[in-house]
């Protein structure tokens, strides 16, 4: 059957327009994400190319639902029995939906892939990606798309529209969620098509990528054989798929380090900013965020280095603050939420210097309150994931609130003098002199 045949053989008013629309949706949804620059918009994506993989979250649902809608048209219009008396086999009648949706979706994905790879090469931002990896996961995405198109077409032909369409949306998403989120640390994650983008420092090994390509190719082939009712071959295919899956599950997914991803990369002076190689593209934003907060850091406490991880700094004499770039639920992140980062830096300046609630902890809480109030950061433990609830940790809340207000009420000169007097105690989390009253 030809693409032209697919256009004639679907029971929808404008199959050509539908194909163009589906291609455009597939293309633009991916391209827009890529061109908005992943490291700025999506933030936590380690690669521009990874955007294409992100399409595996919604693209299977889109294709399965589209195929279900098309193949379910005769049934929806009460024409199922009339259509069934055609000399065309049921496989051919359902196959046109797969052809139309599969070709449109895959065409859109491939065009998007071209745009994304071009953008990736132009920007030079991707880490851990290579032609070999791309060459393996593009066909994986294609077979994955074809597989869900077939499943959708079968659902549309066999089930009422009110059941088939929601299933078309939900089932691919559930499979994605199970493989990529809930079972991410289990052997079954070897089948996850969305498996390269989560890793800042490691990526799936080539053999894992081959396994998932083979698995989804066989799954698509078995689904196609079922669609054309070649049951004997389906039986053999399911048998082969089961054996292959068992071997893959036994081996499980494994990962290899991304070259240079953990290497230190430092920039600027006073303070110097240090990030790992995986987050090097964040450096301009990281430095900018530090510079924004720099004037409000008490001079005696200003560090030599601000870094996302302590082990990136080799100078043992340097005064180091560990304040990773943070956004959403991620740290180190590729984009920076100013409020979250202010909270993170405040913690590094004051609270993180205390290992327990003795000594200067009470002063650290006062200073943390003062810092957070000055930068509009909440103190109830909601500033970022893992934030300390100051109110709960505070042994004498009313006193520390009052002291923080008194510190804020001081003139800049008197506050500078107080910090100069107590800088050493603050660094070592020792008792400091009381905050003077304004």
């Amino acid at each position: 059957m030809t693409p032209r045949g697919a256009l004639r053989g679907v029971c929808i008013p404008r199959p050509g327009w539908f194909a163009v629309l589906l291609t455009a949706v597939a293309l633009t949804s991916v391209t827009v994400m890529a061109l908005l620059r992943t490291e700025e918009w999506v933030g936590w994506l380690p690669s521009t190319i990874g955007v294409l993989e992100l399409a595996s979250v919604w693209m299977p649902s889109l294709l399965a639902t589209s195929a279900a809608w098309i193949s379910g048209q005769p049934r929806a219009h009460g024409m199922a029995e009339w259509v069934s008396t055609s000399p065309r086999s049921q496989a051919q009648r359902n196959g046109v939906a797969v052809l139309l949706v599969g070709i449109s979706g895959v065409l859109g994905l491939c065009l998007a892939c071209g745009v994304v790879i071009s953008e990736s090469l132009r920007s030079g931002l991707d880490h851990g990606m290579s032609a070999g990896i791309v060459a393996l996961w593009i066909p994986t995405m294609v077979t994955y798309a074809v597989f869900w198109s077939i499943v959708g077409a079968a659902a549309g032909a066999l089930l009422p529209r009110t059941v088939a369409l929601p299933l078309g949306v939900l089932v691919p998403y559930v499979v994605y969620a199970v493989l990529d989120v809930y079972a991410a640390n289990l052997p079954v994650a070897v089948f996850a098509v969305n498996g390269t983008r989560f890793y800042d420092y490691v990526r799936p090994a080539t053999d894992s990528l081959v396994v998932r390509l083979v698995f989804w190719s066989v799954a698509a082939a078995v689904a196609a054989l079922a669609l054309v009712r070649r049951w004997r071959l389906v039986q053999r295919g399911v048998w082969a798929l089961s054996v292959a899956a068992a071997i893959a599950l036994f081996v499980g997914p494994h990962y290899v380090p991304i070259a240079g991803a953990q290497a230190a990369s430092c920039a600027g002076r006073l303070p110097q900013a240090c990030l790992d190689g995986s987050h090097i593209t964040t450096m301009p934003r990281y430095r900018s965020a530090i510079e924004d907060l720099w004037p409000s850091i008490p001079e005696p406490l200003r560090p030599d280095v601000v870094t996302s991880a302590a082990d990136l700094v080799t100078d043992a004499k340097a005064d180091v603050l560990v304040a990773p770039p943070v956004a959403g639920v991620t740290e180190p992140a590729r984009m920076i939420d100013p409020t979250m980062f202010a909270a993170r830096l405040g913690d590094a300046l004051f609270l993180d210097r205390c290992t327990d609630t003795s000594g200067g902890f009470a002063t650290a809480v006062v200073l943390e309150r003062w810092w957070r109030d000055a930068h509009g950061v909440p103190v109830d433990g909601t500033a970022f994931v893992g934030d300390v609830d100051l109110d709960a940790a505070d042994l004498d809340r009313s006193a520390s609130v009052r002291a923080a207000e008194e510190l804020a009420a001081l003139t800049p000169e008197r506050r500078r003098q107080w910090f100069a007097t107590n800088a050493s105690a603050i660094r070592d989390c020792r008792e400091s002199t009381p905050v003077p009253v304004a």
Partner: protein, 244 residues
């Protein structure tokens, strides 16, 4: 030539066709019966959608339920207009017929010619770009008929095709059916005497799943034609005031 030999069929465990013997030659055969008499079931057996529990349906000598190749060949030459056809309202007439042509395995070029021929045969050429949802009841019936005759089928099954049409639409529709009759076997399932008188070459009465009477329509004179209705009513066991 379509021949049914001792065909019985069940629906939901209930026997609705009982040992039907029937020959369908060229021309229009009116299949008359009350609601539930077995007309639609017989149609479904003829389409191949329902397999008989006993007996054989032969088309050009081949048992269509016996071999899939025979069924495919049968369906290639089959046109079927179901009772109360529901058509996709947003599709245009020509696009719907293109789809019907694809279902008949016609190539794009063959299909285009078949669509034009079918539209002309049912007098819908002017409405080819209209959406099916905006057509009148009669026009929709003719669109469904056009879909049935795409590809020039040799067996045309029309299940209650004039149901719900006003007299003018019905007359027009039956005129189209008459024009199609010389080249094919047409089975017109109906319970309207007017359909028998205006369009049929012969009539068959089915009652309780059995063929109870069959006769040619005598068109030699108006009087002979008018006696057809009385003969059918007599076969059905009803009088002229019954509404049939």
């Amino acid at each position: 030539m379509v021949v049914l030999e001792g065909v019985s069929a069940q629906l939901g465990g209930r026997e609705v066709l009982r040992e039907v013997d029937l020959v369908l030659p060229t021309g229009v055969t009116a299949l008359v019966g009350r609601n539930g008499a077995g007309k639609t079931t017989l149609m479904r057996v003829l389409t191949g959608a329902l397999k008989p529990t006993a007996g054989v349906v032969r088309v050009n000598g081949h048992d269509i339920h016996g071999m899939s190749a025979a069924m495919r060949a049968h369906r290639q030459g089959l046109g079927w207009q179901p009772q109360e056809p529901r058509l996709p309202p947003r599709m245009r007439v020509s696009r719907f017929l293109e789809y019907a042509a694809w279902l008949k395995r016609l190539s794009p070029s063959e299909g285009q010619g078949a669509v034009d021929t079918a539209l002309a045969a049912v007098d819908l050429s002017d409405l080819r770009d209209r959406r099916l949802g905006v057509l009148s009841g009669g026009q929709r019936r003719r669109a469904a008929l056009a879909a049935a005759i795409v590809g020039d089928p040799t067996l045309l099954l029309l299940d209650e095709p004039t149901l719900g049409l006003d007299p003018i639409q019905r007359s027009h529709f039956l005129g189209v059916v008459r024009k199609l009759a010389p080249d094919r076997s047409i089975v017109l399932a109906t319970h309207l005497m007017e359909d028998v008188e205006l369009a049929s070459d012969r009539w068959v009465v089915i009652d309780g799943g059995r063929i109870v009477a069959a006769r040619d329509v005598d068109r030699s004179s108006p009087a002979a034609l008018s006696s057809t209705a009385d003969d059918v009513r007599e076969a059905l066991g009803v009088d002229s005031r019954s509404g049939l």
